[in-house]
Every structure is written in C-alpha cells, then in structure tokens.
C-alpha cells in the first residue's frame, strides 16, 4: 500500500460519503414534494428555487433546537443510541460497486470503496447492528411509547431479516460467491440474465423484506403515529432526532442500491459491453446504476401512498408464515434446478 493508493481510498470514501449525504437531502426533499403531488398539494416550495433548499433549512433548524433528555432516562445509552444506529447506516454503502472501473495515472480504479469477498455478509451484519440502536433508544427513553416502539421494531426487524437472508441464499447459489462484484459479473450481458428474471420469487420476498427492514410503509409500525406518537424516537429532539432521520434515509439508499446490485445487474447497462468503451463505458455504468437506484427510491415513496399500514399480527403472519416458507421453497427449487442441469 503506497501513498497514492491511500489517497485514492480517501477520495473514494469522501465521494461516497458526500454522495450519500446529498442523496439523503434529495430524498427528504423528494419525499415531501412527491408526497404532496400525489395528494394534490404543492409541498415545500418557498426556500430556494422550487423549494430545493428546504432540507438545508431543516438541517439548520435542527441545530437551533433544544436538546432534551427526559428525566429518568438512562443517560449514556440515550445519548449513544442514535450513533449506534447512524454509524452502520453510513458504512453499509462501502461494499456496493457503483460503476465498472476507470483508469487514471495508469492504474485501474474500481468504482467501489471496499472490494471485500464477504460483501453480502458485511451488509447483513451491519444492518443487524442497527437494531441495537433502535431497541436501546426505545428502552433508555423512559417513555412507554418509546419502549413499545422499540420492542415492536426489534421484533419486526429480526423477523424480516430471516426472509431477507434466505432470499439472498438463492442468489448466492447462482453466483457462487458472496462478493458483490461476482454477483454483478454473473448477471452481465443481455438484460434477461439479470437475477430478477432468474429469481422472481426471491426478488418479491427480498423487496417486501426491505420495506420492513427500513421501517417504511406499509410496515412502519415502529412509528405508527396514530398509536405510538413517534415510536422509539418519541423523546428525541434536536440533532439526535436528525440522526435517526438520517440513518433511516441512509438505510433506504443502501437498500435501493442493494436491490439493484442483487437483482438488476448493478451498474450493468443492458446490451452494452462497458469495458470496450473505456471512460465513457464507466460513466454510462455509473449513470445506469444511479437511474436504477432512483427508480427504487421513488418506489419507496410511491408504495408509501399506495398501501395502508399492516396490523401487527398481519405483519408477523406475513413474515413468518408466508415469506419464510416461501424463501425455503425457493432455495430448494433453485438448488434442485442447478443439480438437475448439472446431472444432464
């Protein structure tokens, strides 16, 4: 590892970090604006051109707010909980490849922060750490709404993590690797080779599980505002509340990126060989990744205003009695199919 190599790593980390932050801001704006359009309203349109500076104004407002710690709260845990949730949320994107590769100064640079051979495990492990943040925030607040929200949330997250983990197994069976680059390489070429066409059942299970994992409607029972006020972050204010918000949106971005990587060929441009085009190919691959991701981010908002919220028993029934057996059957079918074709 030389100095130049380290500088490249630093630049990549900073670019990805900044891109995540900007996407979060864009997503907060888009969420309010698109929601408003879907309901025949205008949404925020006063701060800056078309209201584009609204997220920045919100951020500054968070700074100026009073930081409250309720009496009887478990102080160290109460303060640390947002950090426990936010740090993994900002780190997960590191292993996702967002483009092919470019050549600068005679060395090939992969458009990915960290190329680890256990990519999927890394993502699943970090998303599991986020559960600690939620349950600790709910428990330490000394508020009944927070406690109930935290409990519900942790049960929901661990239940859907199973379905999600099992849906991914069939993808690993096809690619034979946990490395996200190998999984993308496995889907290269003609767009019918994308996993969404090979594994439609796994895709549906994964997508539903992702909505539950990111606490989005129709599974946002953790902060069901009509019954739980705000869920696990009821007692949080100021920047600590902003950190929960940030983590939630960062998780959505990673989830969208992961869906694209696992099922839609990642940065693959349909019917095009990126490596033959040099720099142009790399730019096209990044654009294709961003476009696919933007679609899934939009889908988050679209689904939010399309489906009503599940009841808690319905949520648990769907996770344990529908998605989990389906995912097991899917693994059996995929393994069986691969065995049959190999036997011929």
């Amino acid at each position: 590892m030389d100095l130049l190599g380290f500088i490249i790593i630093l630049v990549k980390v900073l670019v990805v970090f900044a891109a995540t932050m900007i996407t979060v801001m864009g997503m907060i704006y888009a969420e309010r604006r698109v929601s408003a359009f879907m309901q025949g309203r205008l949404g925020p349109n006063r701060v800056g051109p078309k209201g584009l500076l609204q997220p920045i104004a919100d951020g500054i407002k968070f700074f100026m707010k009073e930081d409250l710690i309720p009496s009887g709260a478990d102080k160290p845990i109460f303060i640390l909980a947002p950090a426990i949730l936010l740090i993994p949320a900002l780190m997960t994107f590191a292993v996702i490849p967002f483009g092919s590769s470019i050549t600068i100064f005679g060395r090939e640079i992969a458009l990915q922060v960290a190329d680890v051979n256990v990519g999927i495990l890394y993502i699943l492990a970090l998303t599991s750490i986020g559960v600690y943040g939620i349950v600790l925030a709910g428990w330490s607040s000394n508020s009944k709404y927070s406690l109930l929200g935290g409990l519900r949330s942790s049960a929901q997250l661990i239940s859907y993590e199973l379905a999600m983990g099992l849906a991914v197994v069939s993808i690993i069976l096809l690619a034979g690797s946990l490395r996200l680059n190998d999984i993308i390489a496995d889907q290269q070429g003609y767009f019918l080779s994308w996993n969404v066409f090979k594994q439609p059942l796994a895709f549906i299970i994964f997508l539903v599980a992702v909505y539950a994992e990111t606490n989005r409607l129709p599974f946002d029972l953790t902060e069901a505002e009509q019954e739980l006020v705000g869920g696990y972050h009821t007692e949080y204010s100021s920047l600590k509340f902003a950190m929960f918000f940030l983590a939630e949106y960062a998780n959505m971005i990673t989830a969208a990126a992961l869906t694209v990587t696992l099922f839609f060929g990642g940065w693959d441009v349909p019917l095009l060989d990126e490596s033959s085009l040099g720099l142009l190919g790399a730019i096209l691959s990044v654009l294709s990744f961003i476009l696919k991701m933007a679609f899934f981010l939009f889908l988050f908002i679209w689904v939010r205003w399309t489906f009503p919220r599940f009841r808690y028993d319905q949520l648990m029934r769907l996770g344990w009695k529908v998605l989990l057996p389906l995912a097991l059957v899917n693994i059996f079918l995929t393994g069986g199919y691969l065995t049959l074709t190999a036997m011929k």
Binding site: V13, L86, S143, A155, S238, D313, K321, P325, G335
Partner: protein
C-alpha cells in the same frame, strides 16, 4: 487481503467522527431552559402513570428465540451456497445433504407453527 478492509476502517472513522461531532454539537448549541414538568417523558400531556420498565408480552421473547434458531440456519446455508456449484461436479450429494438439513428444520418449523408460537391474536 487485509488491505481490502482498509477503506472500511477509513469510512468507519469518518462515520463515527460525524456521529460524535453531531452529538457534541447538539449539547453545546441550542437553548437550554429546563424545569421538572418539561423534562417529564411524554405521555399525552398527563403525568406519568406507573413505571415505564414494565413487563412486556412473552411473544417478543419467543420471536427472539425463534430468530436465533433460524438465523443460525442461515449461517449454515451461506457457506453451502458459496461452494454449491464447485461440489456439483462431484455428484448431487451436496444437494441432498442440504435437503436433509432443511427437512429437519422444516419439521421444527411446523412443530412451532402448530403449537401456536407464531400466533399474535
């Protein structure tokens, strides 16, 4: 090999730095006017009734236990899935091996289901 993990360390430092700077700033900036009533945990505007750390439904505990069983199952499935294609050339043993493993688990799953551990009514 370990070199591949260096960027993760870098991004961890950055993310942790961001989080802790935010936590420190929020303690320094902003007004601070406190009184006993304001610091009360929110409970729809009335005084707190009873303690917060009450007993909660056993179902949450059950779900946590079941989660561990099935999560370990997934942990076993991942390495199997990674080497699956390599071992297929040596015959279909690797497939039927996992069928037996999954069948045992499916049996346990049906047992749990029939005993009503998954009911929330």
């Amino acid at each position: 090999m370990a070199e591949n993990y260096l960027p993760i360390l870098v991004i961890f430092v950055l993310a942790a730095g961001f989080a802790f700077v935010s936590l420190i700033i929020t303690h320094l900036v902003g007004p601070r006017v406190t009184n006993a009533v304001k610091m009360m945990p929110y409970e729809s505007g009335v005084d707190q009734v009873g303690k917060t750390r009450i007993r909660f439904s056993i179902r949450f505990f059950l779900i946590a236990l079941l989660f561990i069983i099935f999560d370990i199952e997934i942990v076993f499935l991942y390495p199997w899935a990674v080497v699956f294609k390599d071992f297929l050339s040596a015959g279909s043993f690797i497939f039927f091996e996992m069928v037996v493993f999954l069948a045992i688990l499916a049996f346990g799953f049906i047992y749990v289901w029939r005993n009503g551990a998954l009911e929330w009514e």
